[in-house]
Amino acid sequence: MNNFGYHRPASVADAVKALGGSGDARIVAGGQTLLPTLRARLATPSDLVDLRAIAELKGIKAEGDGITIGAMTPHAEVAASDVVKGAIPALAYLADHIGDRQVRTLGTIGGSLANNDPAACYPSAVLALGATIRTSKREIKADDFFQGLFTTALEDGEIITAVHFPKPEKAAYEKFVQPASRFALVGVFVAKAREGVRVAVTGAGQEGVFRARELEQALSANFSPDAAKGVKVAAGNLISDLHGTAEYRAHLIPVLTARAVAAAK
């Protein structure tokens, strides 16, 4: 790990100021990706702006037709929250299956979304549920937020403050783990809402999380496991690696979608 300046602002405004005031500053939220990266010397930021002391970024509350989760809320808190479990149990389940206990204690929803790892779990929930990402500047719709591997709509100096999830009729998340890392080799989040069915897939796309439109159409017409199983997903834009070929991932997407549909509540 190389030397860097360390800042621990107490408000979002101060954090934004700290980010702007230095050469190559990075935000540290839960640090579950950034710290190993620093230790391996794969990133050498001039400054770290630690968001942990900002009270306004924490917490879960019911809001309007859904729930709002503060950006610095750790996965374990989402997993244990009665508010989340009551409104969107699939989201609590997802949070409860990220990484291991240590990761869930420190890792945050805001950090996960800003990082947009192609195998992270949260992006699939945000995209499938049609959530809204609130930042220090604006509100961003899920469909506009994810822009490719480790790339989002966030601008320099822009900080995620919270995520608002509308309550679906039913939803479920099915994760098929990469055996070594236990990240998602393929993760499918299915949400059935008034507006229709949305299916978001993580772990499999070369450009990160994506919506599986062919599955959404099939399930909008007939929300049943069999309808999902009957869909063929093209392998063309999917990842091939040591743990799974693109064809294997393409095969798993409808299989997991069918399981999610069966489990949705």
Binding site: M1, N2, A40, F176, A180, S181, L242, Y248, L252, V255
Partner: protein, 795 residues
């Protein structure tokens, strides 16, 4: 030496003495040791699999803050790391032994090869400086594939090793085998890949070199399974330091699995550098470094053929194997695919004629050497897959085919056609016990029930033998070992009757501090808590060959028994003197000496005190004191064996294999601590399941880069990957050592992989899959199902 019912004696599941220390964080591992004035080493390693070093510029790095010294291959003026075992090829020529200098002189030969040693006031400063070293490489084509290494056009790793061949060896009677094949009723053929594994001991390697200018003495603290072997190899062959000026300490060591047997060049580097910079120098590997510098395991590619008569009796076996040595010859690498593998090809069967060829090849990969089982898992996997396939092809029930060919219980000692003489075993009984415990008979009902749930359930079996208790020195010497393989033990009885045990074996997870204390406490009749076991320091222990090859109890324990025999013989004479009796009339039992036929007795403690306070003592006949040392050289290998049965359930939609049930029934001879035995079997089986389903050390064929260089891609087994394992023993005694023990450290890893894969193939039989390679990962199982499906559709 039977189970005495003593709660801390032989046969009792005593909780491990060492665990309080380990579980409360009070162990002392090499990295915990901090010597006064200690500096920190960072090793700059090659990012390329194969390249010429054109230029190394250290000027900028040397000027960085906190830099103590930087050394490159040009600075290193001592010897290379030697190989401890020499194999001769079929034509009588010795194997090719390339030099292995701790710092590369002009060429790097694998990713991770050592280019520069940077010593700093802190590790961070050393690492900063290493990043400032400018190395100009000229990249060369690399070869990593075992199967392709000797083919025309492959990149050449060493100029002297034509076609990358280290040796081309054989064993057995080729003519007899050919003749038997000519008469065969049926021949079963199989191609087997035993993939490369990374050992992954929990504690990464570390080494501290220390040099005392006043006395000229060197001390090396290191994560070793055998400190005396390191002293011998490093002192005599690499740095030319005589034994009396070199102390090697292997303190608490957190797991080895073989990977800490070998003398590593980092050990020589820090010891050499300590004298150069006149300060202690510490190096600690991190996990990523371990993946590219710890010797790896397995990596064999084989073709095997089994000839059977019309009744299913095995007539002959021939095997041709290529074994990957990596870029350098690690300490025991050449003996793993040869004398630790091919000699086991008879297995538990009466196959009368066997011929094996082994070609060892160099590649641009990390060196390969012994890893838990070392050669025996490779042979067992090959043999048990082959026998299973023969059963499928001939239509003979797979259990019956094994029974038909077992060496009968009354045939021991049994001479195999591949050099070994088995001393004891009871294969029919271990099989029957395992079949019963695993409810083999009830399996089809479980398969049918699983089918209703959409799952493919399979059951697999492996009946195996291994050779351990390494080893009779004269035998291994004649086979190419450059060391003896006896063991040394000392018993020091203190004046108050407590005992310190000095063993040349080394405990790095095996629980010797408990097992050996049980053995000594029970034999001498002193309380368990009055016995302390010391190991791991060449200045404390007279000598030792260390711990590997499941040898510690069978060989090291036997040395302790011999030393205790001497203690008891001397103590008997002292007791006789005290009781004014003839030594011939004195017997020793339960810690008491008594005169036969009288009520005269003296306790062991009083004899000990008398030995050190010899006021009333046969001083003209006996020296005072009560301390004895024994060296024990085994008469033969020991032959643990048994039967492993695995049951799996496969989800055909995803290819995921779940191990539903695992039964291990092993014959390991005398058991001292059943709980520790069970733990050893658990650990071994989990590693075997790891090899069968999860682990693979994969290199990129083009670039030679390691693709599985961290736990993000290298799949270690986790608790939820394994079921609760059913462990039982059915023991026949080893006939040639005083304990009757055979060894248990490796059986789990040896017997289990073929049981798992045979179960996977049994599950996949209904969908037409006939072969699969390890690890049977979900994607591979799914692909196999798809290919079998399309093959069926095409028919």
């Amino acid at each position: 030496m039977a189970d005495t019912g003593n709660p801390t004696g032989i046969g009792a599941s005593v909780k491990r003495k060492e665990d309080f220390r380990f579980l409360t964080g009070q162990g002392t591992y090499t990295d915990d040791i901090k010597r006064p004035g200690q500096a920190y080493a960072y090793i700059l390693r090659s990012p390329h699999a194969h390249a010429e070093i054109v230029k190394i510029d250290t000027a900028r790095a040397k000027a960085m803050p906190g830099v103590v010294a930087i050394f490159t291959g040009a600075d290193y003026d001592k010897g290379g790391v030697p190989c401890g075992w020499q194999i001769h090829s079929k034509d009588g020529s010795p194997m090719v032994e390339p030099p292995h200098f701790p710092l590369c002189k002009d060429r790097v030969r694998h990713v991770g090869d050592q280019v520069a040693l940077v010593i700093g006031e802190s590790l961070a400063q050393a690492r900063d400086a290493a990043e400032a070293i400018a190395v100009t490489y000229k990249e060369l084509p690399a070869i990593v594939s075992t199967a392709d290494a000797d083919k025309p056009g492959a990149a050449q790793v060493w100029p002297d090793a034509k076609n990358n061949t280290c040796f081309d060896w054989h064993l057995g009677d080729k003519a007899a085998v050919d003749a038997a094949f000519a008469k065969a009723h049926h021949v079963t053929k199989i191609d087997i890949v035993n993939q490369r594994l990374a050992p992954n001991a929990m504690e990464p390697r570390a080494a501290i070199g220390d040099y005392d200018r006043a006395t000229g003495e060197y001390t090396l603290y290191t994560t070793s399974q055998n400190p005396h072997v390191i002293r011998l190899l490093m002192g005599a062959f690499v740095l030319q330091i005589p034994e009396h000026k070199l102390r090697v300490v292997a303190p608490d060591v957190g797991g080895g699995f073989g990977s800490k047997i070998f003398h590593y060049s980092e050990e020589a580097l820090v010891t050499w550098a300590a004298a150069k910079v006149r300060r202690p120098v510490k190096w600690t590997s991190d996990r990523s470094e371990a993946f590219i510098s710890d010797a790896q395991g397995r990596d064999h590619v084989s073709h095997a053929e089994l000839a059977l008569d019309k009744d299913g009796k095995f007539l002959a076996l021939r095997v041709s194997t290529k074994a990957n040595m990596g870029a350098y010859l690690s300490t025991f690498a050449p003996c793993v695919p040869t004398y630790l593998s091919a000699t086991l090809l008879a297995g538990v069967y009466t196959t009368p004629a066997i011929y094996a060829e082994v070609k060892a090849v160099f590649t641009n990969t990390v060196a390969v050497d012994a890893y838990r089982g070392a050669g025996r898992p490779e042979t067992t996997y090959l043999l048990e897959r082959l026998v299973e396939k023969a059963a499928r092809e001939t239509g003979i029930d797979r259990v019956e085919l094994r029974r038909k060919n077992f060496i009968p219980k009354d045939a021991f000692p049994y001479q195999t056609p591949v050099a070994l003489q088995y001393d004891s075993g009871d294969y029919f009984s271990t099989l029957d016990i395992a079949l019963k415990r695993a409810d083999w008979a009830g399996f089809e009902a479980r398969r049918a029930e699983a089918k209703k749930r959409g799952k493919l359930r399979g059951i697999g079996i492996s009946t195996y033998i291994e050779a351990c208790g390494i080893a009779p020195s004269a035998v291994v010497g004649s086979l190419g070992a450059r060391a003896g393989l006896y063991e040394c033990g000392s018993i020091r009885v203190h004046p108050t009757g407590s005992v310190t045990v000095f063993t040349g074996t080394h405990s790095h997870g095996q629980g010797h501090e408990t097992t050996f204390a049980q053995l000594v406490s029970d034999t001498l009749g002193v309380p368990f808590d009055s016995v302390e076991v010391s190991h791991g320091d060449t200045n404390k222990i007279p000598f030792g060959m260390g711990t590997y090859g499941s040898r510690s109890l069978a060989v090291g324990g036997s040395a302790l028994v011999k030393a205790m025999d001497k203690i008891i013989a001397k103590a008997t004479r002292i007791a006789a003197h005290l009781m004014e009796a003839s030594a011939a009339d004195v017997e020793f039992k339960n810690g008491e000496f008594s005169v036969k036929g009288t009520d005269k007795k003296v306790p062991f403690g009083q004899v000990a005190l008398t030995a050190y306070v010899p006021h009333n003592y046969p001083i003209t006949e006996l020296e005072p004191g009560l301390e004895e040392t024994a060296f024990y050289d085994p008469l033969n290998f020991t032959y643990p064996g048994g039967c492993h049965i695995c049951e799996v359930e496969i989800d055909p939609d995803t290819g995921v294999t779940q191990v539903a049930k695992f039964t291990a029934v092993d014959d390991i001879g005398r058991v001292i601590n059943p709980m520790i035995v069970e733990g050893q079997v658990h650990g071994g089986v989990v590693q075997g399941i790891g090899q069968a389903l999860l682990e693979n050390c994969a290199y990129d064929n083009e670039s030679g880069q390691l693709l599985t260089g961290s736990y993000m891609d290298y799949t270690m087994p986790r608790a939820d990957d394994v079921p609760s394992i059913d462990v039982a023993t059915h023991n026949t005694m080893c006939t040639h050592n005083p304990l009757g023990s055979k060894g248990v450290g490796e059986v789990g890893a040896i017997g289990s992989p073929p049981a798992v894969i045979n179960a996977v193939l049994d599950a996949l039989l209904p969908v037409g899959v006939k072969d699969i390679t390890m690890p049977a990962t979900p994607v591979k199982v799914w692909q196999a199902i798809q290919s079998a499906g399309s093959a069926k559709a095409a028919e």
